[in-house]
Symmetry: C2
Subunit: 268 residues, 2 copies
Protein backbone atom coordinates (compact mmCIF):
# COMPACT_ATOMS: atom_id res chain seq x y z
CA UNK A 1 0.00 0.00 0.00
CA UNK A 2 1.45 3.36 -0.97
CA UNK A 3 0.36 6.95 -1.01
CA UNK A 4 1.20 8.61 -4.30
CA UNK A 5 1.69 12.23 -3.49
CA UNK A 6 0.81 14.45 -6.41
CA UNK A 7 4.47 15.26 -7.14
CA UNK A 8 4.83 11.57 -7.92
CA UNK A 9 6.57 10.38 -4.77
CA UNK A 10 5.44 7.00 -3.47
CA UNK A 11 5.22 6.71 0.30
CA UNK A 12 4.21 3.59 2.19
CA UNK A 13 0.98 3.93 4.18
CA UNK A 14 1.82 3.01 7.77
CA UNK A 15 -1.85 2.61 8.56
CA UNK A 16 -5.19 3.53 6.94
CA UNK A 17 -7.99 4.53 9.27
CA UNK A 18 -11.67 5.18 8.37
CA UNK A 19 -12.99 8.40 9.96
CA UNK A 20 -16.61 9.14 9.13
CA UNK A 21 -17.05 9.09 5.34
CA UNK A 22 -13.33 9.56 4.63
CA UNK A 23 -10.25 7.44 5.13
CA UNK A 24 -6.95 8.76 6.36
CA UNK A 25 -3.50 7.34 5.79
CA UNK A 26 -0.46 7.89 7.93
CA UNK A 27 2.89 8.09 6.15
CA UNK A 28 6.31 9.38 7.00
CA UNK A 29 9.10 11.04 5.08
CA UNK A 30 12.45 12.21 6.40
CA UNK A 31 11.50 10.82 9.80
CA UNK A 32 8.47 13.11 10.19
CA UNK A 33 4.99 11.65 10.19
CA UNK A 34 2.15 13.16 8.23
CA UNK A 35 -1.51 12.42 7.68
CA UNK A 36 -3.22 12.43 4.30
CA UNK A 37 -6.81 11.92 3.27
CA UNK A 38 -6.96 8.97 0.91
CA UNK A 39 -8.93 10.01 -2.16
CA UNK A 40 -9.47 8.94 -5.77
CA UNK A 41 -8.16 5.50 -5.10
CA UNK A 42 -8.81 3.01 -7.91
CA UNK A 43 -10.40 0.67 -5.40
CA UNK A 44 -11.35 3.04 -2.60
CA UNK A 45 -14.85 1.61 -2.38
CA UNK A 46 -13.39 -1.73 -1.45
CA UNK A 47 -11.73 -0.12 1.55
CA UNK A 48 -8.33 -1.36 0.45
CA UNK A 49 -5.95 1.22 -0.94
CA UNK A 50 -3.16 0.26 -3.28
CA UNK A 51 -2.31 3.58 -4.88
CA UNK A 52 -4.03 6.89 -4.23
CA UNK A 53 -3.58 10.53 -5.19
CA UNK A 54 -3.34 12.73 -2.12
CA UNK A 55 -1.93 15.96 -0.83
CA UNK A 56 0.74 15.21 1.78
CA UNK A 57 0.73 16.35 4.50
CA UNK A 58 -2.84 17.36 5.24
CA UNK A 59 -2.84 21.08 6.13
CA UNK A 60 -5.32 20.73 9.01
CA UNK A 61 -6.49 17.74 11.00
CA UNK A 62 -10.00 16.38 10.64
CA UNK A 63 -12.29 17.61 13.43
CA UNK A 64 -11.47 16.15 16.80
CA UNK A 65 -14.99 14.82 17.24
CA UNK A 66 -14.58 12.45 14.33
CA UNK A 67 -11.39 10.91 15.69
CA UNK A 68 -11.49 7.52 17.29
CA UNK A 69 -7.79 6.93 16.87
CA UNK A 70 -5.76 8.91 19.40
CA UNK A 71 -2.74 7.41 17.68
CA UNK A 72 -3.50 9.27 14.46
CA UNK A 73 -3.98 12.57 16.27
CA UNK A 74 -0.70 12.09 18.11
CA UNK A 75 1.10 11.52 14.84
CA UNK A 76 -0.49 14.60 13.33
CA UNK A 77 0.60 16.65 16.34
CA UNK A 78 4.12 15.26 16.06
CA UNK A 79 4.26 16.50 12.50
CA UNK A 80 2.91 19.93 13.48
CA UNK A 81 5.61 20.38 16.13
CA UNK A 82 7.93 21.74 13.48
CA UNK A 83 5.32 24.32 12.43
CA UNK A 84 5.12 22.85 8.95
CA UNK A 85 6.76 20.17 6.90
CA UNK A 86 9.16 20.99 4.12
CA UNK A 87 9.39 18.60 1.19
CA UNK A 88 11.28 20.71 -1.35
CA UNK A 89 13.78 23.55 -1.30
CA UNK A 90 11.89 26.81 -1.94
CA UNK A 91 15.07 28.26 -3.41
CA UNK A 92 16.16 25.68 -6.01
CA UNK A 93 13.35 23.10 -6.01
CA UNK A 94 15.49 20.09 -5.03
CA UNK A 95 14.57 17.63 -2.25
CA UNK A 96 15.39 18.43 1.37
CA UNK A 97 16.84 16.27 4.13
CA UNK A 98 16.41 16.52 7.88
CA UNK A 99 19.78 17.02 9.58
CA UNK A 100 21.80 19.16 11.97
CA UNK A 101 23.68 21.76 9.88
CA UNK A 102 27.38 22.37 10.60
CA UNK A 103 27.73 24.67 13.62
CA UNK A 104 24.09 24.19 14.65
CA UNK A 105 22.59 22.09 17.45
CA UNK A 106 19.13 21.39 16.02
CA UNK A 107 17.63 19.37 13.20
CA UNK A 108 16.64 21.59 10.27
CA UNK A 109 15.35 21.09 6.75
CA UNK A 110 18.42 21.39 4.53
CA UNK A 111 18.44 21.35 0.73
CA UNK A 112 20.22 18.24 -0.56
CA UNK A 113 21.40 20.19 -3.61
CA UNK A 114 22.15 23.84 -2.76
CA UNK A 115 22.48 23.16 1.00
CA UNK A 116 20.40 26.15 2.04
CA UNK A 117 18.98 25.73 5.55
CA UNK A 118 15.23 26.33 5.77
CA UNK A 119 14.75 27.64 9.30
CA UNK A 120 11.29 27.50 10.86
CA UNK A 121 10.50 29.94 13.64
CA UNK A 122 7.44 30.84 15.72
CA UNK A 123 4.97 33.36 14.33
CA UNK A 124 3.59 36.43 16.05
CA UNK A 125 -0.12 37.04 16.62
CA UNK A 126 -0.98 40.62 17.61
CA UNK A 127 -4.25 41.80 19.12
CA UNK A 128 -5.81 44.41 21.36
CA UNK A 129 -8.65 44.94 23.80
CA UNK A 130 -10.52 48.01 22.46
CA UNK A 131 -12.34 49.86 25.26
CA UNK A 132 -14.79 52.77 25.32
CA UNK A 133 -16.70 54.03 28.35
CA UNK A 134 -15.77 50.93 30.34
CA UNK A 135 -17.05 48.58 27.64
CA UNK A 136 -14.93 46.09 25.67
CA UNK A 137 -15.24 45.37 21.95
CA UNK A 138 -15.32 41.69 20.97
CA UNK A 139 -15.84 39.93 17.62
CA UNK A 140 -17.77 36.71 17.01
CA UNK A 141 -15.74 34.61 14.60
CA UNK A 142 -17.06 33.84 11.11
CA UNK A 143 -14.13 31.58 10.24
CA UNK A 144 -12.44 28.44 11.54
CA UNK A 145 -11.06 27.67 14.00
CA UNK A 146 -13.79 28.34 16.58
CA UNK A 147 -16.48 29.77 14.31
CA UNK A 148 -19.26 31.39 16.37
CA UNK A 149 -17.06 32.04 19.43
CA UNK A 150 -16.01 35.46 20.70
CA UNK A 151 -12.51 36.88 20.42
CA UNK A 152 -10.56 40.08 20.83
CA UNK A 153 -9.46 41.38 17.42
CA UNK A 154 -6.13 39.66 16.67
CA UNK A 155 -4.23 38.02 13.85
CA UNK A 156 -0.83 37.24 12.35
CA UNK A 157 1.69 40.07 12.18
CA UNK A 158 2.61 40.92 8.57
CA UNK A 159 6.01 41.84 7.19
CA UNK A 160 6.21 45.64 6.86
CA UNK A 161 4.33 46.64 10.00
CA UNK A 162 5.14 47.12 13.69
CA UNK A 163 3.40 45.01 16.35
CA UNK A 164 1.25 48.01 17.34
CA UNK A 165 0.33 48.69 13.69
CA UNK A 166 -0.55 45.02 13.25
CA UNK A 167 -2.90 45.06 16.24
CA UNK A 168 -4.63 48.20 14.88
CA UNK A 169 -4.91 46.71 11.38
CA UNK A 170 -6.47 43.49 12.66
CA UNK A 171 -9.06 45.58 14.56
CA UNK A 172 -9.86 47.52 11.39
CA UNK A 173 -10.22 44.28 9.39
CA UNK A 174 -12.26 42.28 11.91
CA UNK A 175 -14.32 45.04 13.57
CA UNK A 176 -14.15 47.89 11.00
CA UNK A 177 -13.00 49.98 13.97
CA UNK A 178 -10.21 52.49 14.41
CA UNK A 179 -8.31 52.32 17.70
CA UNK A 180 -5.54 54.16 19.46
CA UNK A 181 -3.11 51.49 20.66
CA UNK A 182 -2.00 51.83 24.30
CA UNK A 183 0.57 49.62 26.01
CA UNK A 184 1.57 45.95 25.72
CA UNK A 185 0.14 44.11 28.72
CA UNK A 186 -0.01 40.39 27.92
CA UNK A 187 2.05 37.79 26.06
CA UNK A 188 1.05 34.17 25.58
CA UNK A 189 3.51 31.56 24.31
CA UNK A 190 1.44 28.95 22.48
CA UNK A 191 4.46 26.69 22.28
CA UNK A 192 2.87 23.65 20.64
CA UNK A 193 1.47 25.83 17.84
CA UNK A 194 4.71 27.77 17.29
CA UNK A 195 3.01 31.09 18.07
CA UNK A 196 3.56 34.06 20.38
CA UNK A 197 0.42 36.15 21.07
CA UNK A 198 0.94 39.79 22.07
CA UNK A 199 -1.95 41.91 23.39
CA UNK A 200 -2.18 45.71 23.69
CA UNK A 201 -4.63 47.95 25.49
CA UNK A 202 -6.55 50.19 23.06
CA UNK A 203 -9.09 52.99 22.96
CA UNK A 204 -11.99 52.56 20.55
CA UNK A 205 -12.23 55.76 18.51
CA UNK A 206 -15.31 55.58 16.27
CA UNK A 207 -17.96 53.29 14.85
CA UNK A 208 -17.63 49.55 14.44
CA UNK A 209 -19.19 46.79 12.35
CA UNK A 210 -18.60 43.15 11.48
CA UNK A 211 -15.66 42.70 9.12
CA UNK A 212 -15.43 39.79 6.68
CA UNK A 213 -14.06 37.42 9.32
CA UNK A 214 -16.70 38.31 11.94
CA UNK A 215 -20.35 37.28 12.29
CA UNK A 216 -21.01 40.21 14.62
CA UNK A 217 -19.12 42.75 16.71
CA UNK A 218 -20.39 44.08 20.04
CA UNK A 219 -19.46 46.16 23.09
CA UNK A 220 -19.66 44.27 26.39
CA UNK A 221 -19.86 45.50 29.96
CA UNK A 222 -17.20 43.70 32.02
CA UNK A 223 -19.99 41.85 33.87
CA UNK A 224 -21.47 40.60 30.59
CA UNK A 225 -18.35 39.17 28.91
CA UNK A 226 -19.36 35.76 27.47
CA UNK A 227 -16.64 33.77 29.27
CA UNK A 228 -18.06 30.40 28.23
CA UNK A 229 -17.93 31.38 24.58
CA UNK A 230 -14.46 32.91 24.36
CA UNK A 231 -12.68 31.35 21.37
CA UNK A 232 -9.13 30.84 22.67
CA UNK A 233 -7.26 30.36 25.95
CA UNK A 234 -4.88 33.19 25.03
CA UNK A 235 -7.85 35.53 24.61
CA UNK A 236 -9.32 34.48 27.95
CA UNK A 237 -5.98 35.14 29.68
CA UNK A 238 -5.64 38.57 28.03
CA UNK A 239 -9.18 39.58 29.03
CA UNK A 240 -8.64 38.41 32.64
CA UNK A 241 -5.36 40.33 32.96
CA UNK A 242 -6.80 43.41 31.28
CA UNK A 243 -9.67 43.52 33.76
CA UNK A 244 -7.33 42.88 36.73
CA UNK A 245 -5.02 45.72 35.63
CA UNK A 246 -8.00 48.14 35.71
CA UNK A 247 -6.21 50.67 33.50
CA UNK A 248 -2.79 50.63 35.16
CA UNK A 249 0.41 49.50 33.43
CA UNK A 250 1.83 46.70 35.57
CA UNK A 251 4.14 45.42 32.88
CA UNK A 252 3.50 42.33 30.77
CA UNK A 253 1.61 39.32 32.14
CA UNK A 254 2.96 36.05 30.71
CA UNK A 255 1.26 32.75 30.09
CA UNK A 256 3.02 29.71 28.62
CA UNK A 257 0.86 27.03 27.00
CA UNK A 258 3.22 24.12 26.30
CA UNK A 259 0.79 21.48 25.15
CA UNK A 260 -2.68 21.40 23.74
CA UNK A 261 -4.96 19.82 26.32
CA UNK A 262 -6.42 16.61 24.87
CA UNK A 263 -9.71 17.27 26.66
CA UNK A 264 -10.05 20.97 25.89
CA UNK A 265 -12.16 22.03 22.91
CA UNK A 266 -10.25 25.33 22.83
CA UNK A 267 -7.37 25.02 20.36
CA UNK A 268 -5.18 27.93 21.46
Amino acid sequence: MTIVWRAGIHLPILCAIPVGAATYGVASRNDVAGVAELVDAPDSKSGFFTEVGVRFPLPAPPSQDAFHHEFLLKLWRAGRKENSLVNFCSDCGASVVRKIPHGDTRHRWVCASCEIVHYQNPKIVVGCIPERDGKILLCRRAIEPRTGFWTAPAGFLEVGESIAEGAARETLEEACAEVEIGHLFASVDVVYAGQVHLFFTATLLGDFAAGEESLEVALFDIADIPWKDIAFSSNRFALEQYIADAGSNNGVHHLVIKHRSPTSPVPI
Copy 2:
Protein backbone atom coordinates in the same frame (compact mmCIF):
# COMPACT_ATOMS: atom_id res chain seq x y z
CA MET B 1 23.06 37.86 -21.53
CA THR B 2 21.39 35.47 -19.14
CA ILE B 3 21.89 34.17 -15.63
CA VAL B 4 21.55 30.41 -15.50
CA TRP B 5 20.33 29.59 -12.06
CA ARG B 6 21.49 26.17 -10.95
CA ALA B 7 18.00 24.70 -11.28
CA GLY B 8 18.35 25.44 -14.99
CA ILE B 9 16.18 28.54 -15.28
CA HIS B 10 17.50 31.22 -17.61
CA LEU B 11 16.96 34.80 -16.46
CA PRO B 12 18.03 37.89 -18.37
CA ILE B 13 20.65 40.01 -16.61
CA LEU B 14 19.22 43.51 -16.29
CA CYS B 15 22.67 44.89 -15.55
CA ALA B 16 26.10 43.49 -14.62
CA ILE B 17 28.18 45.53 -12.21
CA PRO B 18 31.83 44.95 -11.16
CA VAL B 19 32.30 45.25 -7.39
CA GLY B 20 35.86 44.68 -6.25
CA ALA B 21 37.07 41.34 -7.59
CA ALA B 22 33.56 40.02 -8.23
CA THR B 23 30.79 40.94 -10.64
CA TYR B 24 27.14 41.08 -9.70
CA GLY B 25 24.15 40.70 -11.96
CA VAL B 26 20.65 41.99 -11.33
CA ALA B 27 17.75 39.86 -12.52
CA SER B 28 14.07 39.62 -11.77
CA ARG B 29 11.55 36.82 -11.56
CA ASN B 30 7.86 37.07 -10.69
CA ASP B 31 8.26 40.85 -10.52
CA VAL B 32 10.77 40.68 -7.67
CA ALA B 33 14.34 41.75 -8.28
CA GLY B 34 17.31 39.81 -7.00
CA VAL B 35 21.07 40.12 -7.10
CA ALA B 36 23.41 37.28 -7.98
CA GLU B 37 27.14 37.00 -8.07
CA LEU B 38 28.24 36.06 -11.55
CA VAL B 39 30.61 33.11 -11.31
CA ASP B 40 32.05 30.36 -13.49
CA ALA B 41 31.25 32.22 -16.66
CA PRO B 42 32.80 30.75 -19.77
CA ASP B 43 34.25 34.14 -20.59
CA SER B 44 34.26 35.78 -17.17
CA LYS B 45 37.82 36.98 -17.60
CA SER B 46 36.75 39.07 -20.54
CA GLY B 47 34.20 40.86 -18.34
CA PHE B 48 31.35 39.98 -20.69
CA PHE B 49 28.88 37.40 -19.44
CA THR B 50 26.84 35.30 -21.78
CA GLU B 51 25.84 32.39 -19.56
CA VAL B 52 26.88 31.86 -15.97
CA GLY B 53 26.11 29.49 -13.11
CA VAL B 54 24.93 31.34 -10.04
CA ARG B 55 22.83 31.04 -6.92
CA PHE B 56 19.83 33.33 -7.23
CA PRO B 57 19.08 35.34 -5.21
CA LEU B 58 22.22 36.11 -3.26
CA PRO B 59 21.54 35.44 0.46
CA ALA B 60 23.34 38.59 1.64
CA PRO B 61 24.40 41.74 -0.19
CA PRO B 62 28.04 42.53 -0.85
CA SER B 63 29.46 44.88 1.77
CA GLN B 64 28.07 48.40 1.55
CA ASP B 65 31.57 49.89 1.26
CA ALA B 66 32.18 48.15 -2.03
CA PHE B 67 28.99 49.45 -3.61
CA HIS B 68 29.19 52.24 -6.14
CA HIS B 69 25.76 51.57 -7.60
CA GLU B 70 22.99 52.78 -5.29
CA PHE B 71 20.61 51.33 -7.87
CA LEU B 72 21.79 47.81 -7.16
CA LEU B 73 21.45 48.24 -3.42
CA LYS B 74 17.92 49.60 -3.84
CA LEU B 75 16.97 46.57 -5.89
CA TRP B 76 18.46 44.24 -3.32
CA ARG B 77 16.51 46.00 -0.56
CA ALA B 78 13.33 45.76 -2.62
CA GLY B 79 13.81 42.02 -2.82
CA ARG B 80 14.49 41.75 0.92
CA LYS B 81 11.24 43.58 1.78
CA GLU B 82 9.41 40.28 1.59
CA ASN B 83 11.81 38.66 4.07
CA SER B 84 12.96 36.16 1.51
CA LEU B 85 12.18 35.14 -2.01
CA VAL B 86 10.35 31.95 -2.80
CA ASN B 87 11.08 30.27 -6.11
CA PHE B 88 9.50 26.85 -5.60
CA CYS B 89 6.67 25.36 -3.54
CA SER B 90 8.19 23.70 -0.47
CA ASP B 91 5.23 21.33 -0.40
CA CYS B 92 5.08 19.93 -3.95
CA GLY B 93 8.14 21.39 -5.68
CA ALA B 94 6.27 23.24 -8.45
CA SER B 95 6.89 26.89 -9.38
CA VAL B 96 5.23 29.69 -7.44
CA VAL B 97 3.53 32.86 -8.62
CA ARG B 98 3.12 36.19 -6.87
CA LYS B 99 -0.58 37.01 -6.46
CA ILE B 100 -3.32 38.00 -4.03
CA PRO B 101 -5.05 34.79 -2.87
CA HIS B 102 -8.86 34.67 -2.82
CA GLY B 103 -10.14 36.38 0.33
CA ASP B 104 -6.78 38.02 1.04
CA THR B 105 -5.63 41.62 0.54
CA ARG B 106 -1.88 41.08 0.07
CA HIS B 107 0.42 39.61 -2.50
CA ARG B 108 1.71 36.18 -1.43
CA TRP B 109 3.76 33.41 -2.96
CA VAL B 110 1.22 30.86 -4.19
CA CYS B 111 2.01 27.46 -5.70
CA ALA B 112 0.98 27.37 -9.36
CA SER B 113 0.21 23.65 -9.03
CA CYS B 114 -1.20 22.77 -5.59
CA GLU B 115 -2.22 26.41 -4.80
CA ILE B 116 -0.80 26.37 -1.29
CA VAL B 117 -0.11 29.90 -0.02
CA HIS B 118 3.40 30.35 1.38
CA TYR B 119 2.93 33.06 4.01
CA GLN B 120 5.97 34.98 5.20
CA ASN B 121 5.82 36.57 8.63
CA PRO B 122 8.24 38.48 10.87
CA LYS B 123 10.57 36.50 13.12
CA ILE B 124 11.16 36.96 16.82
CA VAL B 125 14.55 37.71 18.34
CA VAL B 126 14.72 37.24 22.12
CA GLY B 127 17.41 38.53 24.43
CA CYS B 128 18.13 39.67 27.96
CA ILE B 129 20.32 42.03 29.97
CA PRO B 130 22.00 39.79 32.59
CA GLU B 131 22.94 41.79 35.70
CA ARG B 132 24.93 40.96 38.85
CA ASP B 133 26.03 43.41 41.55
CA GLY B 134 25.11 46.35 39.33
CA LYS B 135 27.20 45.09 36.42
CA ILE B 136 25.90 44.08 32.99
CA LEU B 137 27.04 41.05 30.98
CA LEU B 138 27.80 41.72 27.31
CA CYS B 139 29.21 39.52 24.54
CA ARG B 140 31.65 40.55 21.80
CA ARG B 141 30.46 38.97 18.57
CA ALA B 142 32.56 36.33 16.82
CA ILE B 143 30.18 36.11 13.85
CA GLU B 144 28.72 38.36 11.19
CA PRO B 145 26.96 40.71 11.13
CA ARG B 146 28.99 43.10 13.30
CA THR B 147 31.88 40.83 14.26
CA GLY B 148 33.93 42.38 17.08
CA PHE B 149 31.09 44.57 18.38
CA TRP B 150 29.34 44.15 21.74
CA THR B 151 25.82 42.87 22.20
CA ALA B 152 23.42 41.63 24.84
CA PRO B 153 22.88 37.87 24.46
CA ALA B 154 20.04 37.47 21.94
CA GLY B 155 18.96 35.37 18.98
CA PHE B 156 16.09 33.88 17.01
CA LEU B 157 13.31 32.22 18.99
CA GLU B 158 13.05 28.50 18.18
CA VAL B 159 9.91 26.41 17.77
CA GLY B 160 9.26 24.52 21.02
CA GLU B 161 10.30 27.18 23.54
CA SER B 162 8.71 30.21 25.21
CA ILE B 163 10.14 33.70 24.68
CA ALA B 164 11.63 33.64 28.21
CA GLU B 165 13.17 30.19 27.59
CA GLY B 166 14.60 31.43 24.30
CA ALA B 167 16.26 34.42 25.98
CA ALA B 168 17.80 32.12 28.62
CA ARG B 169 18.98 29.61 25.99
CA GLU B 170 20.68 32.32 23.92
CA THR B 171 22.51 33.49 27.05
CA LEU B 172 23.69 29.95 27.74
CA GLU B 173 24.87 29.56 24.13
CA GLU B 174 26.61 32.92 23.72
CA ALA B 175 27.89 33.53 27.27
CA CYS B 176 27.87 30.02 28.81
CA ALA B 177 25.86 31.66 31.59
CA GLU B 178 22.74 30.65 33.46
CA VAL B 179 20.25 33.44 34.18
CA GLU B 180 16.96 33.90 35.96
CA ILE B 181 14.73 35.74 33.52
CA GLY B 182 12.85 38.72 35.00
CA HIS B 183 10.31 40.86 33.14
CA LEU B 184 9.88 41.98 29.51
CA PHE B 185 10.90 45.63 29.31
CA ALA B 186 11.70 46.48 25.67
CA SER B 187 10.42 45.62 22.21
CA VAL B 188 11.98 46.82 18.97
CA ASP B 189 10.21 46.43 15.63
CA VAL B 190 12.94 46.14 13.01
CA VAL B 191 10.34 46.50 10.28
CA TYR B 192 12.63 46.50 7.23
CA ALA B 193 14.26 43.26 8.40
CA GLY B 194 10.97 41.53 9.28
CA GLN B 195 12.02 41.09 12.91
CA VAL B 196 10.62 41.85 16.36
CA HIS B 197 13.24 42.02 19.13
CA LEU B 198 12.05 41.34 22.70
CA PHE B 199 14.29 42.03 25.71
CA PHE B 200 13.96 40.75 29.28
CA THR B 201 15.66 41.76 32.49
CA ALA B 202 17.73 38.91 33.95
CA THR B 203 19.86 38.00 36.96
CA LEU B 204 23.23 36.39 36.24
CA LEU B 205 23.44 33.26 38.39
CA GLY B 206 26.91 31.71 37.99
CA ASP B 207 30.06 31.76 35.93
CA PHE B 208 30.32 32.87 32.34
CA ALA B 209 32.64 32.34 29.38
CA ALA B 210 32.73 33.00 25.64
CA GLY B 211 30.39 30.69 23.72
CA GLU B 212 31.07 29.66 20.12
CA GLU B 213 29.52 32.85 18.72
CA SER B 214 31.43 35.18 21.07
CA LEU B 215 35.05 36.41 21.03
CA GLU B 216 34.81 37.37 24.70
CA VAL B 217 32.21 37.95 27.40
CA ALA B 218 32.57 40.56 30.13
CA LEU B 219 30.79 42.31 32.99
CA PHE B 220 30.57 46.09 32.60
CA ASP B 221 29.88 48.81 35.12
CA ILE B 222 27.12 51.07 33.75
CA ALA B 223 29.69 53.87 33.38
CA ASP B 224 31.95 51.65 31.28
CA ILE B 225 29.46 50.31 28.72
CA PRO B 226 31.19 50.56 25.30
CA TRP B 227 28.43 52.65 23.66
CA LYS B 228 30.47 53.30 20.51
CA ASP B 229 30.98 49.59 19.96
CA ILE B 230 27.46 48.29 20.53
CA ALA B 231 26.53 46.02 17.62
CA PHE B 232 22.89 46.92 16.93
CA SER B 233 20.45 49.83 17.37
CA SER B 234 17.96 47.53 19.08
CA ASN B 235 20.62 46.56 21.64
CA ARG B 236 21.52 50.18 22.27
CA PHE B 237 17.83 51.02 22.86
CA ALA B 238 17.39 48.08 25.22
CA LEU B 239 20.47 49.03 27.25
CA GLU B 240 19.38 52.68 27.47
CA GLN B 241 15.88 51.74 28.65
CA TYR B 242 17.21 49.15 31.07
CA ILE B 243 19.46 51.72 32.73
CA ALA B 244 16.68 54.35 32.79
CA ASP B 245 14.30 51.86 34.49
CA ALA B 246 16.84 51.32 37.28
CA GLY B 247 15.22 48.05 38.34
CA SER B 248 11.56 49.11 38.25
CA ASN B 249 8.96 47.61 35.92
CA ASN B 250 7.51 50.52 33.93
CA GLY B 251 5.97 48.34 31.27
CA VAL B 252 7.44 47.78 27.81
CA HIS B 253 9.41 50.51 26.02
CA HIS B 254 8.84 50.41 22.25
CA LEU B 255 11.05 51.43 19.39
CA VAL B 256 10.05 51.14 15.74
CA ILE B 257 12.83 51.08 13.12
CA LYS B 258 11.08 51.34 9.76
CA HIS B 259 14.02 51.72 7.42
CA ARG B 260 17.67 50.95 7.53
CA SER B 261 19.54 54.23 7.56
CA PRO B 262 21.69 54.46 4.41
CA THR B 263 24.41 56.27 6.36
CA SER B 264 24.41 54.09 9.47
CA PRO B 265 26.96 51.29 9.72
CA VAL B 266 24.68 49.57 12.24
CA PRO B 267 22.44 47.08 10.44
CA ILE B 268 19.71 46.57 13.06
